[in-house]
Amino acid sequence: MAISTNFWIWIAALLTLAIYSFLYKDNPFYKFAEYLLVGISIGYGISIYWHNTIITKVYNPLVYDKNFLVLIPLLLGLLMFSRFFKNVSYLSRIPIAFVVGAGTGLSVPSSFEFLFKQIYATMPLKLDIGSLIIVVGVISTLVYFFFSLEHKGFVGKVSKVGITFIMVAFGAAFGYTIMARVSLFIGRIQFLLSDWLGIIK
Protein backbone atom coordinates (compact mmCIF):
# COMPACT_ATOMS: atom_id res chain seq x y z
CA MET A 1 0.00 0.00 0.00
CA ALA A 2 1.50 3.35 -1.07
CA ILE A 3 -0.56 6.49 -0.70
CA SER A 4 0.01 8.91 -3.56
CA THR A 5 2.39 11.79 -2.96
CA ASN A 6 1.20 13.58 -6.09
CA PHE A 7 -0.43 16.88 -5.12
CA TRP A 8 -2.90 16.82 -8.04
CA ILE A 9 -4.08 13.30 -7.25
CA TRP A 10 -4.85 14.49 -3.72
CA ILE A 11 -6.79 17.45 -5.14
CA ALA A 12 -8.76 15.13 -7.48
CA ALA A 13 -9.44 12.66 -4.64
CA LEU A 14 -10.65 15.35 -2.23
CA LEU A 15 -12.88 16.87 -4.92
CA THR A 16 -14.34 13.41 -5.66
CA LEU A 17 -15.15 12.96 -1.97
CA ALA A 18 -16.58 16.50 -1.83
CA ILE A 19 -18.96 15.66 -4.72
CA TYR A 20 -20.04 12.34 -3.18
CA SER A 21 -20.67 14.04 0.19
CA PHE A 22 -23.88 15.31 -1.41
CA LEU A 23 -25.32 11.80 -1.09
CA TYR A 24 -25.38 12.33 2.68
CA LYS A 25 -26.72 15.87 2.42
CA ASP A 26 -26.07 19.17 0.66
CA ASN A 27 -23.02 20.92 2.10
CA PRO A 28 -20.46 23.69 1.31
CA PHE A 29 -17.80 21.18 0.16
CA TYR A 30 -20.16 19.85 -2.52
CA LYS A 31 -21.11 23.38 -3.60
CA PHE A 32 -17.44 24.40 -3.83
CA ALA A 33 -16.58 21.36 -5.99
CA GLU A 34 -19.62 21.91 -8.22
CA TYR A 35 -18.86 25.60 -8.86
CA LEU A 36 -15.20 24.78 -9.43
CA LEU A 37 -16.14 22.22 -12.09
CA VAL A 38 -18.40 24.69 -13.92
CA GLY A 39 -15.78 27.45 -13.79
CA ILE A 40 -12.89 25.28 -14.92
CA SER A 41 -14.91 23.69 -17.75
CA ILE A 42 -15.82 27.11 -19.14
CA GLY A 43 -12.30 28.46 -18.71
CA TYR A 44 -10.79 25.40 -20.39
CA GLY A 45 -13.29 25.62 -23.25
CA ILE A 46 -12.53 29.34 -23.81
CA SER A 47 -8.77 28.76 -23.85
CA ILE A 48 -9.13 25.93 -26.38
CA TYR A 49 -11.44 28.02 -28.58
CA TRP A 50 -9.04 30.97 -28.37
CA HIS A 51 -6.00 28.99 -29.46
CA ASN A 52 -7.58 26.57 -31.93
CA THR A 53 -9.98 29.02 -33.56
CA ILE A 54 -8.97 32.64 -33.13
CA ILE A 55 -5.21 32.09 -33.32
CA THR A 56 -5.00 29.06 -35.64
CA LYS A 57 -7.89 29.74 -37.98
CA VAL A 58 -7.97 33.58 -38.03
CA TYR A 59 -4.81 35.27 -36.73
CA ASN A 60 -2.18 32.98 -38.28
CA PRO A 61 -3.71 32.79 -41.81
CA LEU A 62 -4.32 36.55 -41.80
CA VAL A 63 -0.98 37.72 -40.43
CA TYR A 64 1.45 35.07 -41.71
CA ASP A 65 -0.22 33.66 -44.85
CA LYS A 66 -1.92 36.91 -45.92
CA ASN A 67 -5.08 34.91 -46.61
CA PHE A 68 -7.68 37.68 -46.65
CA LEU A 69 -10.56 35.31 -47.43
CA VAL A 70 -10.58 34.61 -43.70
CA LEU A 71 -12.06 38.09 -43.25
CA ILE A 72 -15.44 36.86 -44.60
CA PRO A 73 -16.15 34.26 -41.90
CA LEU A 74 -14.54 36.61 -39.35
CA LEU A 75 -16.98 39.37 -40.30
CA LEU A 76 -19.93 36.93 -40.17
CA GLY A 77 -18.78 35.81 -36.73
CA LEU A 78 -18.40 39.37 -35.47
CA LEU A 79 -21.93 40.17 -36.65
CA MET A 80 -23.21 37.74 -34.00
CA PHE A 81 -22.10 40.29 -31.39
CA SER A 82 -24.50 42.85 -32.85
CA ARG A 83 -27.15 41.23 -30.65
CA PHE A 84 -25.70 43.21 -27.75
CA PHE A 85 -26.70 46.50 -29.42
CA LYS A 86 -30.42 46.97 -29.88
CA ASN A 87 -30.32 49.32 -32.91
CA VAL A 88 -28.17 46.96 -35.03
CA SER A 89 -29.17 43.61 -33.51
CA TYR A 90 -30.95 42.61 -36.75
CA LEU A 91 -27.49 42.13 -38.35
CA SER A 92 -27.01 38.95 -36.32
CA ARG A 93 -29.65 37.33 -38.53
CA ILE A 94 -27.15 37.26 -41.42
CA PRO A 95 -24.71 34.75 -39.87
CA ILE A 96 -27.63 32.81 -38.36
CA ALA A 97 -29.26 32.58 -41.81
CA PHE A 98 -25.95 31.40 -43.27
CA VAL A 99 -25.51 28.71 -40.60
CA VAL A 100 -29.13 27.52 -40.84
CA GLY A 101 -29.07 27.51 -44.66
CA ALA A 102 -25.74 25.76 -45.01
CA GLY A 103 -26.53 23.35 -42.15
CA THR A 104 -29.89 22.36 -43.60
CA GLY A 105 -28.50 22.01 -47.10
CA LEU A 106 -25.77 19.73 -45.85
CA SER A 107 -27.86 17.64 -43.50
CA VAL A 108 -31.08 17.01 -45.44
CA PRO A 109 -29.72 14.74 -48.23
CA SER A 110 -27.36 12.90 -45.87
CA SER A 111 -30.06 12.42 -43.24
CA PHE A 112 -32.47 10.95 -45.79
CA GLU A 113 -29.81 8.58 -47.06
CA PHE A 114 -29.10 7.63 -43.46
CA LEU A 115 -32.79 7.00 -42.77
CA PHE A 116 -33.21 4.89 -45.91
CA LYS A 117 -30.42 2.60 -44.72
CA GLN A 118 -32.35 2.11 -41.50
CA ILE A 119 -35.58 1.37 -43.38
CA TYR A 120 -33.74 -1.05 -45.65
CA ALA A 121 -32.36 -2.85 -42.58
CA THR A 122 -35.94 -3.32 -41.35
CA MET A 123 -36.92 -5.27 -44.47
CA PRO A 124 -36.70 -9.03 -43.96
CA LEU A 125 -34.02 -10.39 -46.29
CA LYS A 126 -34.45 -13.87 -44.88
CA LEU A 127 -37.35 -15.51 -43.12
CA ASP A 128 -36.32 -16.06 -39.54
CA ILE A 129 -37.69 -15.24 -36.12
CA GLY A 130 -35.35 -12.26 -35.70
CA SER A 131 -36.55 -10.59 -38.91
CA LEU A 132 -40.18 -11.23 -37.93
CA ILE A 133 -39.69 -9.59 -34.52
CA ILE A 134 -38.08 -6.53 -36.17
CA VAL A 135 -40.91 -6.12 -38.72
CA VAL A 136 -43.70 -6.63 -36.16
CA GLY A 137 -41.91 -4.36 -33.67
CA VAL A 138 -41.38 -1.50 -36.12
CA ILE A 139 -44.92 -1.60 -37.57
CA SER A 140 -46.75 -1.97 -34.25
CA THR A 141 -44.65 0.79 -32.63
CA LEU A 142 -45.41 3.12 -35.55
CA VAL A 143 -49.13 2.28 -35.20
CA TYR A 144 -48.93 3.18 -31.49
CA PHE A 145 -47.68 6.65 -32.48
CA PHE A 146 -50.34 7.06 -35.19
CA PHE A 147 -52.92 9.32 -33.59
CA SER A 148 -55.20 10.06 -36.56
CA LEU A 149 -57.15 6.85 -35.86
CA GLU A 150 -58.73 5.98 -32.53
CA HIS A 151 -56.87 3.10 -30.86
CA LYS A 152 -59.85 0.70 -30.95
CA GLY A 153 -60.46 -2.70 -32.52
CA PHE A 154 -57.65 -3.95 -34.79
CA VAL A 155 -55.65 -0.70 -34.51
CA GLY A 156 -56.00 -0.86 -30.72
CA LYS A 157 -54.72 -4.44 -30.62
CA VAL A 158 -51.72 -3.61 -32.86
CA SER A 159 -50.90 -0.52 -30.80
CA LYS A 160 -50.98 -2.71 -27.66
CA VAL A 161 -48.33 -4.92 -29.26
CA GLY A 162 -46.46 -1.69 -30.04
CA ILE A 163 -46.50 -0.52 -26.43
CA THR A 164 -45.15 -3.93 -25.38
CA PHE A 165 -42.18 -3.44 -27.69
CA ILE A 166 -41.71 0.11 -26.36
CA MET A 167 -41.71 -1.20 -22.77
CA VAL A 168 -39.11 -3.84 -23.65
CA ALA A 169 -36.97 -1.07 -25.20
CA PHE A 170 -37.41 1.08 -22.06
CA GLY A 171 -36.43 -1.89 -19.90
CA ALA A 172 -33.27 -2.48 -21.93
CA ALA A 173 -32.43 1.23 -21.83
CA PHE A 174 -33.04 1.34 -18.05
CA GLY A 175 -30.85 -1.71 -17.48
CA TYR A 176 -28.07 -0.14 -19.54
CA THR A 177 -28.52 3.16 -17.65
CA ILE A 178 -27.97 1.41 -14.31
CA MET A 179 -24.89 -0.24 -15.79
CA ALA A 180 -23.59 3.14 -16.97
CA ARG A 181 -24.13 4.91 -13.65
CA VAL A 182 -22.51 2.06 -11.75
CA SER A 183 -19.57 2.18 -14.19
CA LEU A 184 -19.02 5.86 -13.46
CA PHE A 185 -18.99 5.13 -9.72
CA ILE A 186 -16.62 2.20 -10.30
CA GLY A 187 -14.29 4.56 -12.18
CA ARG A 188 -14.11 6.89 -9.21
CA ILE A 189 -13.72 4.11 -6.63
CA GLN A 190 -10.95 2.63 -8.76
CA PHE A 191 -9.21 6.01 -8.80
CA LEU A 192 -9.55 6.42 -5.02
CA LEU A 193 -8.38 2.89 -4.18
CA SER A 194 -5.65 2.68 -6.80
CA ASP A 195 -4.24 6.07 -7.78
CA TRP A 196 -4.86 7.80 -4.44
CA LEU A 197 -4.65 5.21 -1.65
CA GLY A 198 -2.63 2.60 -3.55
CA ILE A 199 -4.64 -0.24 -1.98
CA ILE A 200 -5.18 -2.00 -5.31
CA LYS A 201 -2.92 -2.21 -8.38
Binding site: Y24, N52, S110, A172, M179, A180, V182, S183, G187
Partner: protein, 288 residues
Protein backbone atom coordinates in the same frame (compact mmCIF):
# COMPACT_ATOMS: atom_id res chain seq x y z
CA UNK B 1 -45.99 -6.29 7.15
CA UNK B 2 -43.30 -4.84 9.35
CA UNK B 3 -40.73 -5.69 6.69
CA UNK B 4 -42.80 -4.03 3.94
CA UNK B 5 -43.11 -0.85 6.01
CA UNK B 6 -39.37 -0.97 6.64
CA UNK B 7 -38.68 -1.19 2.88
CA UNK B 8 -41.10 1.64 2.12
CA UNK B 9 -39.60 3.94 4.76
CA UNK B 10 -35.95 3.02 4.29
CA UNK B 11 -33.66 6.07 4.16
CA UNK B 12 -32.05 6.04 0.71
CA UNK B 13 -28.65 6.82 2.25
CA UNK B 14 -28.53 3.21 3.48
CA UNK B 15 -28.94 2.10 -0.12
CA UNK B 16 -26.02 4.36 -1.17
CA UNK B 17 -23.88 2.88 1.60
CA UNK B 18 -24.66 -0.73 0.66
CA UNK B 19 -24.05 0.07 -3.02
CA UNK B 20 -20.68 1.61 -2.14
CA UNK B 21 -19.77 -1.55 -0.20
CA UNK B 22 -20.95 -3.74 -3.11
CA UNK B 23 -18.48 -1.90 -5.31
CA UNK B 24 -15.53 -1.49 -2.92
CA UNK B 25 -15.44 -5.06 -1.53
CA UNK B 26 -14.94 -6.82 -4.92
CA UNK B 27 -11.95 -4.53 -5.57
CA UNK B 28 -10.35 -5.70 -2.33
CA UNK B 29 -11.39 -9.36 -2.68
CA UNK B 30 -11.80 -10.11 -6.43
CA UNK B 31 -14.15 -12.98 -7.27
CA UNK B 32 -13.33 -13.32 -10.97
CA UNK B 33 -16.83 -13.66 -12.44
CA UNK B 34 -16.67 -15.32 -15.89
CA UNK B 35 -16.84 -13.03 -18.90
CA UNK B 36 -18.06 -13.85 -22.40
CA UNK B 37 -17.01 -11.87 -25.47
CA UNK B 38 -19.97 -10.63 -27.50
CA UNK B 39 -20.05 -10.49 -31.34
CA UNK B 40 -20.21 -6.64 -31.65
CA UNK B 41 -16.94 -6.34 -29.67
CA UNK B 42 -15.29 -9.26 -31.43
CA UNK B 43 -16.03 -7.84 -34.88
CA UNK B 44 -14.13 -4.58 -34.16
CA UNK B 45 -11.25 -6.60 -32.71
CA UNK B 46 -11.21 -8.98 -35.68
CA UNK B 47 -11.31 -6.13 -38.18
CA UNK B 48 -8.23 -4.46 -36.64
CA UNK B 49 -6.54 -7.83 -36.25
CA UNK B 50 -7.17 -9.30 -39.70
CA UNK B 51 -8.41 -6.71 -42.18
CA UNK B 52 -5.99 -3.78 -41.87
CA UNK B 53 -2.53 -4.14 -43.47
CA UNK B 54 0.60 -3.07 -41.59
CA UNK B 55 0.99 0.71 -41.71
CA UNK B 56 -2.79 1.14 -42.06
CA UNK B 57 -4.60 3.89 -40.18
CA UNK B 58 -7.11 3.70 -37.34
CA UNK B 59 -8.91 6.94 -36.50
CA UNK B 60 -10.23 7.12 -32.93
CA UNK B 61 -12.84 9.75 -32.08
CA UNK B 62 -12.42 10.95 -28.50
CA UNK B 63 -15.70 12.81 -28.24
CA UNK B 64 -16.16 12.64 -24.49
CA UNK B 65 -15.22 14.49 -21.34
CA UNK B 66 -14.42 13.50 -17.74
CA UNK B 67 -18.11 12.80 -16.99
CA UNK B 68 -18.05 9.64 -19.16
CA UNK B 69 -14.33 8.97 -18.88
CA UNK B 70 -14.81 5.92 -16.64
CA UNK B 71 -16.43 4.00 -19.50
CA UNK B 72 -14.82 5.46 -22.61
CA UNK B 73 -11.22 5.99 -21.50
CA UNK B 74 -10.50 2.24 -21.14
CA UNK B 75 -11.94 1.72 -24.65
CA UNK B 76 -9.68 4.41 -26.12
CA UNK B 77 -6.61 2.91 -24.44
CA UNK B 78 -7.27 -0.67 -25.45
CA UNK B 79 -8.23 0.08 -29.08
CA UNK B 80 -5.14 2.31 -29.51
CA UNK B 81 -2.90 -0.33 -27.92
CA UNK B 82 -4.36 -3.02 -30.18
CA UNK B 83 -3.74 -0.92 -33.30
CA UNK B 84 -0.15 -0.22 -32.22
CA UNK B 85 0.40 -3.92 -31.58
CA UNK B 86 -0.40 -4.58 -35.25
CA UNK B 87 1.97 -1.78 -36.35
CA UNK B 88 -0.92 0.40 -37.46
CA UNK B 89 -0.91 4.18 -37.22
CA UNK B 90 -3.35 5.78 -34.80
CA UNK B 91 -4.92 9.21 -35.18
CA UNK B 92 -7.10 10.69 -32.47
CA UNK B 93 -9.68 13.30 -33.38
CA UNK B 94 -12.13 15.20 -31.21
CA UNK B 95 -15.14 17.39 -31.88
CA UNK B 96 -15.33 18.44 -28.20
CA UNK B 97 -12.88 20.89 -26.56
CA UNK B 98 -12.58 18.60 -23.51
CA UNK B 99 -11.91 15.62 -25.74
CA UNK B 100 -8.43 16.97 -26.52
CA UNK B 101 -7.35 16.52 -22.89
CA UNK B 102 -8.86 13.03 -22.83
CA UNK B 103 -7.06 11.96 -26.00
CA UNK B 104 -3.71 13.38 -24.84
CA UNK B 105 -4.02 11.44 -21.60
CA UNK B 106 -4.75 8.22 -23.53
CA UNK B 107 -1.79 8.79 -25.88
CA UNK B 108 0.62 9.47 -22.96
CA UNK B 109 -0.63 6.40 -21.12
CA UNK B 110 -0.60 4.00 -24.08
CA UNK B 111 2.85 5.12 -25.30
CA UNK B 112 4.33 4.81 -21.79
CA UNK B 113 2.83 1.36 -21.20
CA UNK B 114 3.61 0.13 -24.72
CA UNK B 115 7.26 1.20 -24.59
CA UNK B 116 7.61 -0.35 -21.13
CA UNK B 117 6.29 -3.74 -22.35
CA UNK B 118 7.90 -3.63 -25.82
CA UNK B 119 11.32 -1.93 -25.60
CA UNK B 120 12.39 -3.66 -28.83
CA UNK B 121 9.50 -2.13 -30.80
CA UNK B 122 9.09 1.39 -29.39
CA UNK B 123 6.33 3.69 -30.62
CA UNK B 124 6.66 7.44 -30.97
CA UNK B 125 4.37 10.42 -30.84
CA UNK B 126 4.15 11.95 -34.31
CA UNK B 127 5.45 8.80 -35.98
CA UNK B 128 2.97 6.14 -34.88
CA UNK B 129 0.28 8.09 -33.08
CA UNK B 130 -1.00 11.65 -32.70
CA UNK B 131 -3.99 13.80 -31.92
CA UNK B 132 -5.48 16.09 -34.56
CA UNK B 133 -5.98 19.57 -33.10
CA UNK B 134 -9.48 20.42 -31.91
CA UNK B 135 -11.36 22.47 -34.50
CA UNK B 136 -14.90 23.71 -33.80
CA UNK B 137 -17.68 23.01 -36.27
CA UNK B 138 -18.72 19.39 -35.59
CA UNK B 139 -20.48 18.31 -38.82
CA UNK B 140 -18.45 20.82 -40.90
CA UNK B 141 -15.25 19.27 -39.54
CA UNK B 142 -16.44 15.73 -40.31
CA UNK B 143 -17.37 16.77 -43.86
CA UNK B 144 -14.15 18.66 -44.51
CA UNK B 145 -12.10 15.69 -43.32
CA UNK B 146 -13.70 13.76 -46.18
CA UNK B 147 -12.03 16.21 -48.59
CA UNK B 148 -8.71 17.04 -46.95
CA UNK B 149 -7.60 16.16 -43.43
CA UNK B 150 -4.42 18.29 -43.50
CA UNK B 151 -6.34 21.40 -44.52
CA UNK B 152 -8.99 20.77 -41.87
CA UNK B 153 -6.58 20.73 -38.94
CA UNK B 154 -3.25 22.25 -40.07
CA UNK B 155 -1.68 21.20 -36.75
CA UNK B 156 -1.73 18.27 -34.36
CA UNK B 157 -2.86 18.71 -30.78
CA UNK B 158 0.72 19.45 -29.72
CA UNK B 159 1.25 22.40 -32.07
CA UNK B 160 3.24 20.53 -34.77
CA UNK B 161 2.49 21.05 -38.47
CA UNK B 162 0.57 17.98 -39.66
CA UNK B 163 2.23 18.01 -43.07
CA UNK B 164 5.63 17.47 -41.37
CA UNK B 165 4.55 14.45 -39.29
CA UNK B 166 5.51 10.94 -40.34
CA UNK B 167 2.26 9.54 -38.99
CA UNK B 168 0.37 11.57 -41.62
CA UNK B 169 2.34 10.24 -44.59
CA UNK B 170 -0.01 9.31 -47.44
CA UNK B 171 -3.14 10.39 -45.56
CA UNK B 172 -5.33 12.82 -47.47
CA UNK B 173 -8.90 11.98 -46.58
CA UNK B 174 -11.18 9.13 -45.43
CA UNK B 175 -10.02 6.99 -48.38
CA UNK B 176 -6.74 6.56 -46.50
CA UNK B 177 -8.36 5.63 -43.17
CA UNK B 178 -9.00 1.91 -42.68
CA UNK B 179 -11.31 2.16 -39.69
CA UNK B 180 -12.77 4.79 -37.44
CA UNK B 181 -13.80 3.91 -33.89
CA UNK B 182 -15.95 6.69 -32.51
CA UNK B 183 -16.00 6.91 -28.72
CA UNK B 184 -18.79 9.09 -27.41
CA UNK B 185 -21.65 9.15 -24.96
CA UNK B 186 -23.71 11.58 -27.00
CA UNK B 187 -25.43 11.89 -30.37
CA UNK B 188 -22.16 12.98 -32.01
CA UNK B 189 -21.89 9.31 -33.04
CA UNK B 190 -24.75 10.00 -35.46
CA UNK B 191 -22.85 12.92 -37.01
CA UNK B 192 -20.01 10.52 -37.86
CA UNK B 193 -22.44 7.87 -39.11
CA UNK B 194 -24.44 10.31 -41.24
CA UNK B 195 -21.56 12.23 -42.82
CA UNK B 196 -18.40 10.12 -42.62
CA UNK B 197 -20.01 6.71 -43.11
CA UNK B 198 -23.07 7.79 -45.12
CA UNK B 199 -21.44 10.24 -47.49
CA UNK B 200 -17.85 8.98 -47.67
CA UNK B 201 -18.27 5.30 -46.83
CA UNK B 202 -15.80 5.40 -43.91
CA UNK B 203 -15.86 2.05 -42.11
CA UNK B 204 -16.94 2.67 -38.53
CA UNK B 205 -17.07 1.03 -35.14
CA UNK B 206 -18.85 2.57 -32.17
CA UNK B 207 -17.70 2.78 -28.56
CA UNK B 208 -20.35 4.24 -26.35
CA UNK B 209 -21.57 4.55 -22.79
CA UNK B 210 -23.96 1.87 -21.58
CA UNK B 211 -26.76 4.49 -21.47
CA UNK B 212 -26.52 4.94 -25.24
CA UNK B 213 -25.69 1.34 -26.19
CA UNK B 214 -29.31 0.19 -26.66
CA UNK B 215 -29.89 3.08 -29.08
CA UNK B 216 -26.97 2.16 -31.32
CA UNK B 217 -27.73 -1.54 -31.82
CA UNK B 218 -29.91 -0.61 -34.79
CA UNK B 219 -26.81 0.69 -36.62
CA UNK B 220 -25.19 -2.71 -36.31
CA UNK B 221 -28.29 -4.33 -37.78
CA UNK B 222 -28.17 -1.91 -40.73
CA UNK B 223 -24.40 -2.52 -41.09
CA UNK B 224 -23.69 1.21 -40.79
CA UNK B 225 -21.25 0.20 -38.04
CA UNK B 226 -19.18 -2.96 -38.02
CA UNK B 227 -19.26 -3.40 -34.25
CA UNK B 228 -19.80 -1.77 -30.90
CA UNK B 229 -18.21 -1.55 -27.47
CA UNK B 230 -21.05 -0.87 -25.03
CA UNK B 231 -20.05 0.60 -21.66
CA UNK B 232 -17.40 -0.69 -19.29
CA UNK B 233 -18.38 -4.27 -20.15
CA UNK B 234 -17.55 -3.69 -23.83
CA UNK B 235 -14.15 -2.27 -22.87
CA UNK B 236 -13.52 -5.24 -20.54
CA UNK B 237 -14.33 -7.71 -23.33
CA UNK B 238 -11.87 -5.95 -25.63
CA UNK B 239 -9.20 -5.97 -22.90
CA UNK B 240 -9.83 -9.68 -22.50
CA UNK B 241 -9.31 -10.26 -26.25
CA UNK B 242 -6.13 -8.16 -26.35
CA UNK B 243 -4.86 -9.88 -23.22
CA UNK B 244 -4.82 -13.19 -25.11
CA UNK B 245 -2.27 -11.65 -27.52
CA UNK B 246 0.04 -10.85 -24.57
CA UNK B 247 1.61 -7.80 -26.20
CA UNK B 248 0.44 -4.97 -23.97
CA UNK B 249 1.09 -4.68 -20.26
CA UNK B 250 -1.08 -1.65 -19.44
CA UNK B 251 -3.55 -1.73 -16.57
CA UNK B 252 -6.85 -3.37 -17.47
CA UNK B 253 -9.04 -0.55 -16.14
CA UNK B 254 -12.32 -2.05 -17.34
CA UNK B 255 -11.69 -5.72 -16.47
CA UNK B 256 -10.79 -5.03 -12.83
CA UNK B 257 -14.11 -3.22 -12.41
CA UNK B 258 -16.22 -6.13 -13.71
CA UNK B 259 -16.60 -7.92 -10.37
CA UNK B 260 -17.82 -4.68 -8.81
CA UNK B 261 -20.20 -4.18 -11.72
CA UNK B 262 -21.66 -7.67 -11.33
CA UNK B 263 -22.14 -7.36 -7.57
CA UNK B 264 -23.80 -3.94 -8.01
CA UNK B 265 -26.15 -5.48 -10.58
CA UNK B 266 -27.09 -8.29 -8.18
CA UNK B 267 -27.82 -5.64 -5.53
CA UNK B 268 -30.01 -3.70 -7.99
CA UNK B 269 -31.94 -6.84 -8.97
CA UNK B 270 -32.65 -7.53 -5.28
CA UNK B 271 -33.75 -3.91 -4.81
CA UNK B 272 -36.10 -4.07 -7.82
CA UNK B 273 -37.67 -7.32 -6.57
CA UNK B 274 -38.08 -5.98 -3.03
CA UNK B 275 -39.42 -2.66 -4.30
CA UNK B 276 -42.02 -4.40 -6.47
CA UNK B 277 -43.11 -6.75 -3.66
CA UNK B 278 -43.46 -3.78 -1.28
CA UNK B 279 -45.43 -1.84 -3.90
CA UNK B 280 -47.91 -4.63 -4.67
CA UNK B 281 -48.41 -5.61 -1.01
CA UNK B 282 -49.06 -1.97 -0.08
CA UNK B 283 -51.43 -1.53 -3.04
CA UNK B 284 -53.33 -4.69 -2.09
CA UNK B 285 -53.59 -3.58 1.51
CA UNK B 286 -54.88 -0.14 0.53
CA UNK B 287 -57.43 -1.77 -1.80
CA UNK B 288 -58.97 -3.77 1.04
Amino acid sequence: MKFINFINNLDKRWIYLILALCIIIPFLFPVGFPMKTTPPVKSIYDFIEDSIPEGGVVLIGADYDPSTMAELHPMAKVVAAHALSNNLRVLFVTLYPQGAGMAQDVIDNVLREWNKSNPDNPKELGKDITLLAYVPGVSAVVLKMGEDILQTFNEDGYGNKLSELEVMKGIKNYNNINLMVELAGSSVVLTWLIYANGRYGLKMGIGTTAVSAAEYYSYLQSKQAIGMLGGLKGAAEYEHLLDEKKVYGGRKDASIGMDAQSSAHIFFIILIILGNIAYFVKKRKEGK
